[in-house]
Every structure is written in structure tokens, then in C-alpha cells.
């Protein structure tokens, strides 16, 4: 009865060893974080996708310190216009105040912490808490307290210190970003050389862009980084994951040209693109959009130069670190809002040039809906991937193997025109590696001064 189990044959000596420590054991110190990401060779420890400790540190060191996109100018054009959104898991109100400036502040009353605004968007003169009636002005300052005489001569009641917790707000091309870290660099420095690329969309036409009304929101049971990394540079998946949509629309799969396409990145922001000018836009199946782009090609080139003008509607995708993604040509912006290590809320918008013909608004709105929205024939296959990349890491043995992101090692090139770090061939994982390099920089840096420019 007590005899030990007979030993089976010895495991072959060449069985691969497990690379990652099992089950995320050990403290989450700098060495542990650095060991999770090898951005030189392209190895990622799956722990970054499932560990609640890693997620909690991401909220502190990434979302509470970075510039996070919150609104475009055109969404809140008038004094009093507001919308509610998230910076990490922090609920924020974004409003245009009497100074006509855009302000962002935490959506939580200074008294008992209740939410002070429940509408997704609208127009208001103030935000009043339902609990005791404290009210806040459009810039977040405390403007009214019910029966304020009760606080007369109260030594700790100081109106000036009881406003809603304010963020810094800065903008580029009408895109407003919020940041809760006073030590963070300016938005301009945060975006760095990526500003030059953003202008391909934000400044290819004199009037800039505007957003179409409405905002489609959906919940994916995935870690927020899977979609963010997908958009930062996963051209590789496009023809495989989206084969069904491409076949349905065109009857064939387009080819990406290695010598006519790039991945570029700066400070962890990245864009993969071809120089084909039109391929993303063409999938919207609206000839009027393609005609508009062709008619304006020369004007785009005058503003942007020939090279950047070829990106306006081209086969491409991009992410501004950490969670703002977009597709040129399709004209959609989206944010991936973290809701725990295994859940993400996707916010999707459609935009177009403000001076484009009115009829195009309808074309872009419907085209994005057909392709890249939750019901879109492209996007519905993405969610399936992101969720199962996340769910598979429930297994402790599964967790022990690192993930390979080594495609395109050694593809960096010097380019006479393109800024930032440039890699040839958009089918590449150079931008993944840069995204995770930036992630590591931030996760290991106690202060912004310790975060290098990349």
C-alpha cells in the first residue's frame, strides 16, 4: 500500500524549459518587471496580461501618469457642453467652462464621494451631487453648498480646497488629453515625434477634423493591452483574422508590400502603414470617399509633403500610448479603457475633415459601422482573438511560456524623411517591442525624470 508510485521514463533532455516563473511568484519589484519584457529579442511574460498586481501598478504608473485622450474639440463646442469618460478606472467629467477652455476633473463629490454626473454627454450649468446637493462649476470648482451657514466658522471647510480633483488638459489638433501627474512632461513632449505623424489625420486639411455625433461603447473580456498592441502595429493579423470580411467585400486578399510599407514609433506610440494612400478607405465601400481623397491628394501633399500624404487613407493602424488607437482611411478613433486585468471597455468614434462635403459624414458614419464597430464585419473577429488571448492565461502551466513578439528583428532603417524609429515592412512587430519598452520604462520608473525619451 505504501509503495511509491513507479517512476515513468525520464523526460527527454531536449524538452524545452519553462521560461517564466510559475504563477507570478515573487515581489513585483523593478527586476521582476524588467524580466517580464525583453524588447530586444521580443519575448513577453504572460504575467503582464493576468496578474492583478501588475494591473494595479499599471493604473498607478501608466494611467495616472500619462496623457490620456478624453475628448475632441468638436464634441463639446459650446460653453456648458460636457461628456463623461474614464482615465484608467477613474471616472472623469470633461467640460467646456465659461473661460471657453476644456477642463477635466474626477467625477466624484468631495464630500462623500458620490458620482456627480450620470449622463454620458449633454449641456449643463453645473454638476450637482444627488446626495447632499453640493454643486460644482464647469471648471470643477465648488460653487454651491446646501445650507452653507452650517459650515460658518468651521476651521476645515475651505471652498477653494473642496473642488473636484482636476487634471491637466492639453491638446493637439483639437484632441484633448488629460493627465493627473503634475510632474509629467507637456503633451507635446509626451507625443514627441509622433505629433508629426498625427498631423497626417489632424491637419491634412485647413479646418482639421470633427467627430460624428455619438459614441459606440462595448465591453470585451480581454486585457487592455491586447487591442492596444494590435493597433500599434499588427498588420500581420489583418489578412488572416479579417480574411472573411476581405473575401466578402472584394473576393480576394490584398498584399502588403514590404518595400513600400513601414512601422514607425516614438515614445511607445506607433503606426504601421503602407504608402498606398487608399486601401483602408476603400474597405468602407463608399466610392464617394475614395473620390474625395483622390481629388484632394495634391492638396494633402502640399500640406504634408508627398510621403506623409500617402498615409492619409492607407492600409494602416496606430496607437498613441497607452490606449488611444485609430485607423487612417476608416477614420475611426477608439480608446481601450481598462476595467480589471481581464476586461476592457471600448469607446469608438468616427471623424472626418471638417471642411469635407456634408454628404461624406453619412458615408464615413455608415462605412465605419459596417467595418470597424462591434457589429462591423472586420471588428467582430478581433474581439474573439483578444478575449481568448486573455482567457488562456488562467492555466498555471500556460503562464510559464513566454510569448514571441520577434517578427522583424533587425528591420530598423535610417530614413531621409520619416521621423522617429523607422522599420521597413509594416508586417513587423517592431512597434509591439517599442510599446512594451515604453510600458517597462513607465512601470519601473518612480518618477517621470527616470523615463527616457524613446
Amino acid at each position: 500500500m505504501s509503495a511509491p508510485f513507479a517512476k515513468g521514463p525520464a523526460a527527454p533532455a531536449d524538452l524545452p524549459r519553462d521560461e517564466a516563473p510559475a504563477s507570478g511568484q515573487g515581489p513585483l519589484d523593478e527586476a521582476a518587471i524588467r524580466a517580464m519584457v525583453d524588447s530586444e529579442q521580443g519575448w513577453i511574460d504572460r504575467r503582464i496580461f493576468w496578474d492583478p498586481q501588475v494591473y494595479a501598478l499599471e493604473m498607478e504608473r501608466i494611467f495616472a501618469r500619462c496623457w490620456i485622450f478624453v475628448a475632441h474639440d468638436s464634441q463639446i463646442p459650446e460653453v456648458g457642453d460636457f461628456l463623461t469618460t474614464y482615465v484608467g478606472e477613474d471616472a472623469v467629467i470633461v467640460a467646456r467652462a465659461r473661460d471657453r477652455q476644456v477642463h477635466a476633473f474626477i467625477n466624484s463629490c468631495s464630500h462623500r464621494g458620490n458620482r456627480v454626473c450620470f449622463a454620458e454627454a449633454g449641456s449643463a450649468r453645473r454638476f450637482t451631487c444627488n446626495f447632499h446637493g453640493w454643486s460644482y462649476a464647469l471648471d470643477g470648482s465648488l460653487s454651491g453648498v446646501t445650507a452653507e451657514e452650517l459650515y460658518k466658522d468651521n476651521p476645515t471647510f475651505d471652498r477653494s480646497k473642496l473642488g473636484l480633483h482636476k487634471a491637466r488638459v492639453e491638446s493637439h489638433g483639437g484632441m484633448h488629453f488629460a493627465c493627473f501627474d503634475p510632474e509629467a512632461p507637456s503633451l507635446a513632449d509626451y507625443l514627441g515625434e509622433f505629433r508629426w505623424y498625427l498631423d497626417v489625420l489632424l491637419d491634412n486639411d485647413e479646418g482639421g477634423i470633427e467627430f460624428v455625433d455619438g459614441n459606440i461603447k462595448s465591453r470585451l473580456k480581454c486585457n487592455w493591452k491586447f487591442p492596444a498592441e494590435d493597433f500599434v502595429g499588427d498588420a500581420y493579423h489583418a489578412t488572416w483574422t479579417h480574411s472573411s470580411a476581405l473575401q466578402a467585400l472584394f473576393g480576394n486578399i490584398p498584399t502588403m508590400k514590404a518595400d513600400r510599407s513601414f512601422q514607425v514609433n516614438a515614445n511607445g506610440h506607433g503606426w504601421d502603414f503602407g504608402l498606398d494612400f487608399i486601401s483602408n478607405a476603400a474597405t468602407l465601400c463608399e466610392p464617394e470617399i475614395v473620390e474625395y481623397l483622390r481629388e484632394n491628394e495634391v492638396r494633402f501633399a502640399e500640406r504634408l509633403g508627398k510621403m506623409r500624404s500617402r498615409m492619409v487613407g492607407s492600409l494602416s493602424s496606430a496607437t498613441v500610448f497607452p490606449n488611444l488607437s485609430f485607423l487612417a482611411g476608416h477614420n475611426t478613433f477608439r480608446t481601450w479603457n481598462p476595467k480589471g486585468p481581464a476586461e476592457t471597455e471600448l469607446h469608438t468614434w468616427v471623424f472626418l475633415n471638417r471642411n469635407a462635403p456634408d454628404s461624406l459624414k453619412e458615408k464615413y458614419r455608415r462605412g465605419v459601422m459596417l467595418t470597424f464597430s462591434p457589429a462591423g464585419i472586420f471588428e467582430m473577429d478581433d474581439g474573439e482573438n483578444f478575449e481568448h488571448c486573455t482567457a488562456s492565461n488562467a492555466g498555471v502551466v500556460t503562464r510559464r511560456r513566454k510569448l514571441h513578439t520577434g517578427l522583424g528583428l533587425g528591420s530598423e532603417v535610417e530614413h531621409p524623411e520619416l521621423k522617429g524609429n523607422v522599420h521597413r515592412n509594416q508586417v513587423n512587430e517592431a512597434n509591439h517591442r517599442a510599446f512594451y519598452q515604453r510600458w517597462t520604462d513607465l512601470m519601473t520608473a518612480p518618477n517621470w525624470a527616470d523615463v527616457p525619451v524613446r
Binding site: 449622463a119 454620458e120 465591453r219 467585400l249 453619412e362 459596417l370 462591434p374 473577429d381
Partner: protein
């Protein structure tokens, strides 16, 4: 469309039981075609000028008078027959990964009301739809919506769906995608 001030009898005026029964069967059969992924037959129940519309829903204050059910705003579907056909074409591809193994669809239709219109062969039809999707081992997604249809009898005598407005209950879609028609 307001029903205010109309009695049940007035709403049902010009609508006999046989017609209500026929329209109910039309909607139940449509639900089964969707559950069984018989999408070509489903498309054949549409009028050539069909408008199939599922606007995005936002939570706004009551005092907010903005027109939120508007074709200037973002939607999940704002489709004509051409768009619906493109969606079906994608679903039929062998590489439609999110449909293989198949999503197990369930459409339950209820609270059907039929109202006459000024056009003899067109009726406004209200209904509720409960859609469950099951995938893989444990995925389960629930969608509920109020529908307002315009059902038309065409020149062959067949009923066709001419308009559908689908008002979702969710403001944030609690699902990774919407690979279902409601």
C-alpha cells in the same frame, strides 16, 4: 410614435385577427431563420428598400432635448439591403473565425402589436426581442431590444420587412461583438 389617447380598440381598428396571426407567424419564422443561420432566406424576407437600423443608445438627462434617435448619430446598423447582404456574405465565409464553431443563437419574440397605417398593405408592428448567444464553453451574451417594424404585403401577396428600428436596452454593449441580427 405616440399611442396617447388611443384605446386598444382604436389601435386594432382595421386589423383583424387573421392578419395579426399572419404577422406573428412572419416574425416567429424570421427568428427561426436567424437561429438556424438561414441568412439567404432571411434576406429574402426583406423589401428591396428595407431600412434596418439599430442606433447607439446613450444615457442622458431627461432635460436633454437632443434627438438621440437620429440618422446623424453613430449606430450599430444603419443598413440597406446592400449592407445586409455584405454582412451575410462575411458570415458565410469559411474563414469567419468568430462563427466557427457556430454561435448558438436564440431569438425570442414577444409582445407583438399590429397597427394599421394610412397605406392599406403596410402595418406598424411593435415587438420585443430577447437574443441569447452562446459560444464555446461558457460564453453567454444577452441582448434585449424593442423593435418597431413596418411590414408590407408585396405584389405577390408575401409579407416583407420594409423598416426596422431596434432600440437596444444597453448603452454599453455587454459583449465583444454583435454577430447577431435582432
Amino acid at each position: 410614435m405616440s399611442d396617447a389617447g388611443k384605446s386598444g380598440a382604436a389601435l386594432a381598428a382595421g386589423v383583424d385577427r387573421d392578419l395579426v396571426f399572419e404577422i406573428e407567424q412572419f416574425l416567429y419564422r424570421e427568428a427561426r431563420l436567424l437561429d438556424e443561420e438561414r441568412y439567404d432566406e432571411w434576406l429574402a424576407t426583406m423589401a428591396p428598400d428595407v431600412h434596418y437600423w439599430m442606433p447607439g443608445i446613450q444615457a442622458r438627462y431627461r432635460a436633454d432635448k437632443a434627438d438621440l434617435i437620429s440618422r446623424t448619430r453613430m449606430a450599430y446598423f444603419d443598413d440597406d439591403l446592400d449592407y445586409l447582404t455584405k454582412r451575410v456574405e462575411r458570415a458565410k465565409q469559411t474563414t469567419a473565425w468568430a462563427e466557427d464553431p457556430p454561435t448558438r443563437h436564440f431569438h425570442m419574440v414577444s409582445n407583438i402589436e399590429v397597427e394599421a397605417t394610412e397605406i392599406p398593405d403596410e402595418w406598424v408592428v411593435h415587438s420585443l426581442v430577447l437574443n441569447l448567444r452562446h459560444r464555446n464553453e461558457a460564453e453567454e451574451q444577452t441582448l434585449t431590444a424593442r423593435r418597431q417594424d413596418l411590414v408590407r404585403r408585396d405584389e405577390t401577396g408575401a409579407l416583407k420587412l420594409a423598416r426596422r428600428l431596434i432600440r437596444l436596452q444597453q448603452t454599453v454593449l455587454q459583449a465583444k461583438n454583435m454577430n447577431a441580427f435582432l
